[in-house]
């Protein structure tokens, strides 16, 4: 795979391109990175593996000059270096593609690229150069297109071309495939192979084991800010990599087959919603049915209408037509979220802080947040006065924490003080505790550590087993295969037909996610 001169570089025993020794970063008393060693050779794709909060982002921010290290050294091609800021990093030959893009939607591709360059260059020259580069690396891009009209995958290409214009020796990519369909990801990998063949190095940050094994030559694994292993990912199994990441064996999810004819619990018919803001996605005639015992997973790349669908299903934003959504046979389209909860539905939104929970409030108050209407009889006293029975609510919060194994400091701490995974376990547990007959969950394990994710997924499967209908909206294909009994995909506000999970594979889902509905046309392709 490696180009000739690259092999030479390594055989002559030349110093690594980048070498990091006992690099640490402290935030107050918290060690985000704790004595990290990392070597990146010439012409290799090096994976940086770790769960959320393992210190990956902090580490690369230090490499790119965004954060100053508290201790340790960075050496670049054998010389000790202090990367003062991103401009200095770019001059050294380090380029970075962030997980969250920084692009102006109203400007063209070329204008956006020009904004990031340190030296002055005319837009026309730049367009030409960008076009050449994008062709050379298989990243088709029209320099005159407006960013607002581009897909997420295309936007990522702008960022990559932007980095390539600096002719970098090392490119850092932060979770690049989290916004791509499997097909788009394949394309990106080809670009990475081209870069490697030219002797450039890539630092590839990810928590997706499968792709790391596919494309990376070496991997450094982080856990709690420390290096827990350096390996060749191809020599490892997903289980052994996961063990290095998590520090323990991760339980697989046990699935059961759904009963063939469960009662119809959730029915959506030709649901159309016009966008509330200029950047929202309209829903276009969405239909689905979910029966008791079924887990319907809705796959899709972020920003294709998932949150709009959740808002409509939950009733946070009721829709115009009452009949377009039915919960247990009742038309609920125009009802608010609490009326739907009273019919036995439960909801878990994507964003934990400020939507599913108020960070500054205690866990018990956050329990009351979603159940103030559905458990009115239990938790409120004094009739019109509406006195909250804090004691009972706290008891229930304790019960839920125990059931879901929520690790916390203190009896009833502020929700914001919990880690993402523990808070998510609580938020999911808060709904499970009610035994909802319909549960709608948006991105249930987004940014959650592997242990908590597996527990949450098992809980969703168990809920369906006990006779509830579950809808899981997710971007994570591994998760979808773990929990789903049937799978649909959402693309540009349109929902595909649902297919039995057994009949689906990554390629088929990818095609659905790309918006080509109906597998027949896809096969002909």
């Amino acid at each position: 795979m490696q180009g000739g001169h690259v092999a030479n570089d390594q055989s002559t025993g030349e110093l690594p391109l980048l070498s990091v020794r006992s690099l640490s970063k402290l935030f107050g008393s918290f060690k985000a990175c704790d004595g990290i060693d990392l070597d990146i050779g010439h012409g290799e794709i090096h994976a940086l593996l770790g769960e959320n909060g393992a210190g990956k982002s902090t580490l690369v921010k230090m490499l790119f000059g965004i954060l100053a290290p508290s201790a340790g050294s960075i050496s670049w091609q054998g010389t000790d270096t202090l990367v003062a800021n991103p401009a200095a990093a770019r001059r050294l030959g380090i380029g970075m593609v962030f997980q969250h893009f920084s692009l102006f939607e109203a400007l063209t591709v070329a204008e956006n690229i020009a904004l990031s360059l340190d030296e002055k260059i005319s837009i026309a020259d730049l367009s030409k150069k960008a076009a050449e580069l994008s062709i050379a690396y298989g990243l088709p891009l029209d320099p005159d297109a407006h960013v607002a009209d581009l897909s997420v995958g295309e936007r990522q290409r702008i960022e990559i071309v932007r980095a390539l214009l600096q002719n970098p020796k090392l490119i850092i990519l932060d979770e690049p495939t989290s916004v791509l369909t499997p097909q788009e990801a394949d394309r990106l990998f080809e670009t990475l192979f081209k870069l490697r063949a030219e002797g450039r190095s890539v630092l590839y940050i990810s928590h997706r084991l499968e792709e790391v094994q596919r494309i990376c030559d070496r991997a450094t694994v982080l856990r709690h800010g420390k290096v827990t292993g350096v390996c060749d990912p191809r020599q490892e199994t997903p289980a052994s990599l996961a063990r290095m990441m998590v520090g323990a064996e991760v339980a697989g999810v046990e699935k059961v087959e759904p009963p063939a004819d469960g009662a119809l619990q959730l029915e959506v018919t030709s649901l159309s919603v016009s966008p509330r803001s200029p950047f929202a996605m309209p829903l276009k005639s969405v239909s689905m049915t979910v029966r008791a015992g079924e887990v319907l997973a809705i796959a899709g790349v972020a920003g294709n209408g998932q949150s709009e669908l959740f808002d409509a299903l939950s009733g946070e934003y009721p829709v115009e037509s009452a009949d377009s959504i039915r919960i247990r046979g009742q038309s609920v389209g125009r009802l608010g979220i609490n009326a739907r909860r009273l019919l036995g539905a439960g909801f878990v939104p994507e964003e934990r802080h400020g939507h599913a929970a108020v960070p500054a409030m205690s866990l018990s108050e956050n329990l009351f947040l979603s159940r103030n209407a559905s458990d009115r009889k239990a938790y409120l006293a004094g009739g019109k006065l509406g006195l909250i029975r804090h004691g009972l609510v706290q008891q229930a919060a304790r019960r839920i924490s125990e059931m879901m194994d929520v690790r916390k400091s203190g009896d009833d701490p502020a929700a914001g003080s919990l880690s993402g995974g523990n808070l998510q376990k609580f938020i999911v547990g808060r709904e499970l505790d009610r035994q909802p007959s319909v549960l709608v969950v948006n991105q249930p394990t987004w940014g959650v550590d592997a242990g908590a994710a597996s527990r949450i997924r098992q809980a969703l499967v168990d809920l369906a087993k006990s006779g509830s209908a579950v809808v899981v909206i997710s971007q994570d294909l591994d998760e979808i295969f773990e929990v789903a009994t049937s799978i649909a995909a959402i693309s540009e506000g349109k929902l595909s037909q649902a297919h039995p999970a057994g009949s689906m594979n990554r390629e088929k889902i990818g095609i659905l996610m790309g918006g080509m509905h109906g597998l027949e046309t896809a096969h002909a392709h």
Binding site: L82, R341, V358, I388
Partner: protein, 365 residues
């Protein structure tokens, strides 16, 4: 070298208590410097400003008279601010409450009845609420900013009062002075302890309101809604609470308390309407609300402190001959220091000595 603010992992309980005291101390220090610059002896000036008013019974009564409206208004505002609605126009609602509450004793001045006083109080509260309803309507209907609308309405209310007492409601037997008829005795809010001084029931209203709101915030669903919607509108929507409903509730509630404060002041302390009925209670109450950390019981303490600055300012005018603007300066200093000291609750201050700025330049070249 640079100064860094570092977020604390959790709120510092110590600084939550120390911060207001630190702010008070800093206010006194800088007030002393101000007096020194004015050529007065700082120690004796501060003594006559902050200590003297507390030494006599009659002046404690005056303190209660001044603290009453401040506390009553600030308690209402605390509900508003906790719910993330920014009513800045309490002064206007105070004025309108005073006008609507005075309608009966001025227009129907021959009516004598024990019902008169309660009706006046109710009408004052309704008037204040209705006036606060205007920014609420504008916010919910047209998404206007309630900070601006409520503030601008203050000046409309003040000029309307001015027009009334110079025109339609001027006392026919008042030698053309710009003031209304004096209230009949049934329309005057009685003193709490008439034997020792003139503090009236307005102060009692304030204490009752403070305790009631404290109970509401702590124990009821309504209080929960207020806090949730104030922290995150989206989480409030998820809980099924209406943020639009909360705009109405918080504005009307704070307007009603400001209106009640207005009619209590006019009925209890002044006895008629005149062009100016408030030394800026509605604005000072904003400081009171924040100095009391938006907690009704804290507001009682804060209201007493701010009332002392009014009283001390009046005393200092006479005894050491400084302008009454000094009062405003003290209030401004206090708010400034309260807000800045609050930073210490959430952040630690650290001084960082930067290592190797020069090195960075070398490596980049």
């Amino acid at each position: 070298m640079r100064i860094e603010l570092e977020r604390r992992p959790r709120q510092s309980a110590l600084f939550a208590i120390v911060s207001p005291l630190l702010a008070l101390a800093l206010t006194v220090v800088f007030g002393g410097i101000m007096f020194a610059l004015l050529g007065k002896d700082p120690v004796s000036a501060l003594y006559s400003f902050f200590i003297e008013p507390l030494l006599e019974v009659w002046s404690l009564h005056e303190l209660a008279i001044k603290a009453g409206p401040l506390i009553l208004i600030a308690v209402g505002l605390s509900v508003c601010y906790r719910s993330n609605n920014w009513n800045i126009g309490a002064e206007g609602q105070f004025t309108v409450g005073a006008i609507t509450g005075s309608l009966l004793p001025i227009v129907f001045y021959e009516w004598h009845s024990p019902l008169l006083l309660p009706l006046m109080m109710v009408m004052g509260a309704l008037g204040g609420a209705a006036y606060a309803g205007i920014p609420a309507l504008l916010k919910t209907r047209f998404n206007t900013n309630e900070i601006l609308t409520s503030l601008m309405l203050v000046y409309i209310a003040q000029l309307f009062l001015d027009w009334l007492v110079r025109g339609a409601w001027r006392d026919p037997g008042g030698y053309n002075f710009p003031q209304s008829r004096s209230f009949v005795s049934e329309a005057v809010l009685p003193e709490i302890l008439s034997s020792s001084g003139r503090a009236h029931w307005g102060f009692a209203f304030a204490l009752i309101a403070a305790v009631a709101v404290w109970l509401m915030m702590r124990y009821t669903l309504k209080g929960f809604q207020i806090v949730v919607l104030g922290q995150s509108e989206r989480a409030g929507r998820f809980a099924g609470f209406s943020s639009r409903g909360m705009v109405w509730f918080s504005m009307l509630f704070s307007g009603a308390l400001a209106g009640l404060a207005g009619i209590s002041e006019v009925s209890g302390s002044i006895g008629h309407l005149q062009p100016s009925i408030s030394p800026g209670y509605g604005f000072t109450a904003i400081i009171v609300a924040f100095l009391g950390r938006l907690n009704p019981l804290g507001i009682v303490a804060a209201g007493l402190v701010l009332a002392l600055t009014y009283l001390g300012g009046e005393g200092a005018q006479l005894s050491i001959g400084v302008s009454d603007k000094v009062t405003r300066v003290f209030q401004g200093l206090l708010l400034f220091f309260v807000l800045s000291c609050d930073t210490l609750i959430l952040y630690k201050v650290r001084i960082v000595f930067d290592r190797g700025r020069k090195l960075a330049g070398r490596s980049a070249s």
